[in-house]
Symmetry: C2
Subunit: 116 residues, 2 copies
């Protein structure tokens, strides 16, 4: 049997790995809902992420060109984050997942309880 290899070893797989991460998804939908945000505001909104994990997640999203970081030369320096056009184009797909989760949440939670 020759199995279908979903994404093989091509770069798509690598891109999916980076997106397929709950923190990336949460940061993207937070920035989409609130527009430009400071680091501390993102942290307040997603309050169960550690400061280090939020820093790493924002750097990865910035390196991929999904989030833009702007530093204002003020004292203390102000740093703001916002979605790029590429980042924004991902939002409908994440929203699709969220809608699916909302719709199927009850069935999933019920199934988990039966099988505990």
């Amino acid at each position: 049997m020759k199995n279908f290899h979903p994404t093989g070893n091509c770069p798509v797989r690598d891109v999916i790995s980076r997106l397929g991460d709950k923190w990336s998804m949460l940061v993207l939908i937070t920035l989409n809902a609130n527009g430009t945000m400071r680091f501390s505001d993102i942290h307040k909104t997603i309050d169960d992420i550690s400061q280090r994990m939020l820093t790493v997640t924002l750097r990865t999203l910035e390196a991929d060109g999904l989030v833009e970081r702007k530093v204002y030369a003020e004292v203390p320096p102000r740093v703001e984050y916002y979605l790029t056009e590429t980042g924004g184009s991902l939002i409908p797909h994440i929203e699709g997942l969220v809608r699916w989760a909302l719709k199927n949440m009850d069935v999933i939670l019920e199934h988990r309880q039966i099988n505990q």
Copy 2:
């Protein structure tokens, strides 16, 4: 500023956390493409997953009711996995992400190289 909390602490967040995992996504699209599969076939298809991680991923998907496991009383025992209806209903959303990744891969990879 009162920020929008994307999914708060509600169970949707928990569901997204479990889906927002590259191995879960890869297992789901592999089972969708190939139908019923044995453990060893899934492992051959997603060959960079460890045996332990594949076991954990399949158990979680089974506990959530997205994958069904069927054991045949043979010697040696045959164990097969396939998508449930709930699992199948998630596929279009994962495919949406994959299509997005295919379309935006070049831009992302280019952006990464510029910022290295």
